[in-house]
């Protein structure tokens, strides 16, 4: 959860507002979701031990330090951690252009019987991203496959991008 705090602190405006949500009563679920070690991005900045008290970001690109939530100019592709969601692994890659997410896709996602989970899913990603990028839309209807694991992996990818 420390990374979660980092994201909140290091992000400006409405995106921070959206990401600072604390899911109620998710403690048990959190325990069930384990990010696999060593699976962070090439920049190495999606570390799960991100320091929330100083500027000691390990990022080698434009990841935003905690105390200076100013310019979001990251570009490129960023990969989140692979997350074990008990019925498979979820891993997300995002494409960022000038600090804005322009695409997101799953490098890994559950298959087989759990297709249902995948297709059942909520556009939380969409909700968060669009809410951050548009002040005129408060919600999104439509589907993408998003699970809790997707969101965790996404947050890791966003942290890598300094978003």
């Amino acid at each position: 959860m420390k990374r979660f705090l980092l994201i909140t602190a290091g992000t400006v405006g409405s995106l921070g507002a959206v990401l600072s949500i604390t899911p109620p009563q998710l403690g048990n679920s959190d325990l069930g979701l384990t990010s696999s070690a060593g699976n962070s991005t090439s920049t190495g900045s999606s570390s799960t031990t991100a320091n929330t008290t100083s500027n000691s970001s390990t990022s080698t690109n434009t990841a935003t330090p905690v105390t200076t939530p100013t310019i979001k100019s990251a570009s490129g592709t960023f990969t989140g951690p692979a997350v074990d969601v008990s019925y498979g692994m979820v891993q997300v890659e995002i494409t960022v252009s000038n600090g804005k997410i322009t695409n997101a896709r799953a490098l890994q996602s559950p298959s087989g019987r759990s297709d249902r989970y995948s297709s059942y899913a909520i556009p939380i990603l969409t909700q968060q991203t669009l809410a951050a990028q548009s002040t005129n839309i408060q919600g999104a209807s439509g589907a993408s496959y998003t699970t809790y694991g997707w969101r965790q992996s996404l947050q890791g990818a966003m942290a890598s991008a300094g978003l």
């Binding site: 109620p24 997101a104 896709r105 297709s119 005129n136 999104a140 589907a143």
Partner: protein, 248 residues
């Protein structure tokens, strides 16, 4: 104060955006218990759920709880209204109301928060939204319909003060809605959005339009659906057509 919450349930994440003049947290905790209860009753993945028992023929509908009977009856109503395009009884393995339970439950959640005294409520259950009280008293909720080919793009926005909006679609992983008549994957539409007063009905109609495609315009024009609107992206031509008051 406006707050946002997420509850992990139903194989997805339930998103809640609510404004209230009091501490909302107790109501959210209560809501969490409720949505887990809904999961226990309606999940087709839990072998002991009421729905799973119904599917196996171990119990009859007449001994089920009022909420299950309510959902059953809405299913029957929409099956009739859509001339069979929505048919939870045609699903492999028996009666499966998943095509409307999320929309139905989103409504119940919104009603519960409204009853608790919240003023402005958005419940987003995997793209099926229930809305109460507008974003502000003067400004309706503005809800975007996502491009099925690019989930980060809004194709169309609808303004809703009180009501529901539901979208069914085919996704990267392929179509997941079957035509009850043929058992084949539904190919009538690429994405179907329905706006109207009732979340369960909107959800079911969106599912039905995925099956019917443009043919659905026939049954959609029944006077019983005069308060409902549809916005549909064609499967093949990649153009949208619409019907109803919200799309005028």
């Amino acid at each position: 104060m406006r707050t946002q919450h997420e509850i992990e349930v139903w194989g997805t994440v339930l998103f809640i955006d609510v404004t209230s003049e009091f501490e909302i947290e107790p109501a959210i905790i209560e809501l969490t218990e409720y949505v887990n209860h809904v999961d226990e009753v309606f999940s087709t993945y839990k072998t002991n759920s009421t729905i799973s028992q119904l599917r196996r023929g171990e119990i009859e509908i007449d001994i089920c709880s009022p909420e299950v009977i309510e959902v059953w009856n809405i299913c029957a109503y929409i099956k009739d209204l859509t001339e069979g395009a929505f048919d939870p009884w045609a699903v492999d393995g028996g009666f499966d109301p998943s095509g409307l339970v999320k929309g139905w439950a989103a409504d119940k959640c919104a009603d519960r928060l409204a009853k608790a005294g919240a003023k402005h409520i958005q419940i987003n259950a995997a793209g099926d939204l229930s809305l109460r009280g507008g974003f502000t008293p003067e400004k309706p909720w503005s809800i975007g319909v996502v491009n099925p080919d690019n989930r980060l793009e809004i194709l169309q926005a609808f303004e809703i003060q009180d009501g529901a909006i539901a979208t069914s679609g085919t996704y990267e992983r392929g179509a997941h809605i079957k035509d009850p008549d043929t058992g084949m994957i539904a190919i009538g539409a690429k994405s179907a959005t329905v706006i109207g007063p009732d979340g369960a009905i909107a959800d079911a109609l969106a599912t039905a339009l995925m099956v019917s495609g443009r043919d659905g315009a026939v049954w959609f024009t029944t006077p019983e659906l005069s308060e409902y609107s549809a916005w549909v992206i064609d499967r093949h031509e990649n153009v949208a057509w619409s019907i109803g008051p919200a799309t005028a």
